[in-house]
């Protein structure tokens, strides 16, 4: 497991819970690999929220018990999962119709950077010594009705990941609707980034100082 160090504000689990809170009952949701998978564990028990996995699953359930284990039933992160009662299987092209055709209510994606106009960079650091690998990131970013980006607010050396313009190669432009970081929840609107909520102990001034992009504070 990757250890990510949070200097301030919410823990990763708390950010996941905060995202889960914003997912309405009855939603169809895809959780990207990495941090967003934690949102699955945080979904409120009193809401019926269906998880989609790009490899052809709707109604994905939790990790199997030994007697539920099916070696061919894995999620997009290649981990063993289960299927809920009422879930279904379909082939990859149909699965990506769901993603690309605007049928998912919410896609939660990890991010390297998000820009003031909702551009998302989450697939490549541009390092030519690393082979490129995109997976379903661009399909998810482009196709869902709403895109939530989940990321730490700053890099380990303190550089803001909420930027005026992405420095990393884009995944898609103008797609992110909400940004969830350890420091704040931020709505991407046509007139800029609006702070919806700050984590406990994070002041407006601190948040502004930690963010390269201009913010409209709440």
């Amino acid at each position: 497991m990757t250890q990510t160090h949070f200097v301030h504000g919410w823990s990763i689990d708390q950010v996941a819970a905060r995202i889960a809170q914003d997912i309405p009952d009855g939603s169809f949701v895809n959780l990207g690999i990495g941090q967003p998978t934690k949102v699955g564990d945080a979904l409120p028990a009193d809401r019926e929220i269906l998880l989609h996995s790009e490899n052809g699953i709707l109604g994905m359930g939790p990790t199997p018990t030994p007697d539920q284990f099916d070696p061919e039933l894995i999620n997009a992160g290649k981990m063993a999962v289960t299927l809920l009662t009422g879930g279904s299987y379909f082939h990859h092209t149909d699965s990506f119709m769901i993603m690309r055709g605007g049928h998912l209510d919410i896609s939660v994606l990890g991010a390297y950077e998000v820009s003031v106009n909702g551009d998302l960079a989450n697939w490549s650091t541009g390092d030519p010594t690393h082979p490129p690998a995109v997976g379903g990131a661009m399909d998810l970013a482009v196709g869902a009705k709403a895109v939530f980006a989940m990321l730490t607010h700053t890099t380990k050396d303190g550089r803001s990941k909420i930027v005026r313009e992405c420095s990393y190669p884009l995944t898609a432009s103008h797609v992110v609707d909400r940004i969830y970081t350890n420091l704040a929840v931020i709505a991407v609107q046509s007139d800029g980034l609006h702070v919806v909520e700050r984590a406990p102990g994070v002041s407006a001034e601190f948040l502004t100082a930690a963010t390269e992009a201009p913010l409209v504070q709440c």
């Binding site: 052809g56 039933l73 082939h91 990506f96 082979p131 997976g135 399909d139």
Partner: protein, 229 residues
């Protein structure tokens, strides 16, 4: 008489030659046609182009073909995995060409080949470096990129059950790329867990009709396990 069944994996992969384009099913280890990949390795063919979602893992199937320098080019969406060391090594050496495509575009391009289309416009990747050198077009105010069909000379697919006509069912998430790849290759070769009698598969439940299948071989249960959680 229509009979798509063949006796063993070696007969199943016969006719694959140097330079062939192989559409290889599977997402991670789920649905990977491991027995057919082994038979291709035994066949000794080289300069292959492999279309697979990933770049192989460990020492088996796609990874083994890459390790043994049989693969000239890999077309995939996500070549990296915790144990994709053979992909990484050959790519770093410069002996393995890599074309990375968004996963949905890869699947849709194979479907376009199977459906006889000349190509399509998609917003996926249109405003990214993966669209470099490709035609783009503004459609209803949104940038789209033109993507061409992606056909194969052969498809290697794993399914669950097959009958004499080549009708197929799949098992859970191992379905993934199989049904689309079956439509997109000149010759479609399928490994299944077991054969059933004609009529045993409910006509409402057949996922791949036999018209898309050329050869089927029964190999038993899959051997590969997912990562533990």
């Amino acid at each position: 008489m229509i009979d798509r069944r063949v006796a063993d994996v070696h007969e199943a992969v016969s006719g694959i030659t140097d330079g062939a384009v192989l559409l290889v099913g599977g997402f991670g280890n789920s649905g990977i046609p491991a027995y057919l990949c082994d038979a291709v390795l035994d066949l000794g063919v080289k300069d292959l182009t492999i279309v697979n979602n990933n770049g192989g893992s460990g020492e088996t199937d796609v990874a083994a073909l890459i390790r043994e320098n049989r693969v000239r080019k890999l077309i995939c969406s996500y070549p990296r995995a915790s144990n994709s060391h053979w992909f990484s090594r050959r790519w770093s050496e410069g002996t393995l060409e890599l074309e990375v495509i968004p996963q949905g575009t890869m699947s849709e391009r194979m479907r376009a080949a199977g459906a006889g289309l000349g190509g399509f416009f998609t917003p996926t990747g249109a405003d990214t470096e993966l669209a470099n050198g490709k035609e783009t077009r503004l459609i209803n105010g949104r940038l789209h990129v033109f993507e061409e069909p992606l056909p194969g000379d052969f498809a290697l697919v794993r399914a669950d059950l097959a009958d004499r006509w080549g009708n197929l069912t799949y098992h859970s998430a191992a379905r993934n790329f199989g049904p689309t790849m079956c439509t997109a290759a000149t010759t479609t070769i399928v490994e299944v867990r077991e054969f059933v009698e004609l009529g045993d598969l409910d006509p409402e439940h057949i996922i791949t009709p036999g018209i898309f299948v050329d050869r089927v071989v029964a190999v038993g249960a899959p051997t590969l396990m997912p990562k533990s959680a």
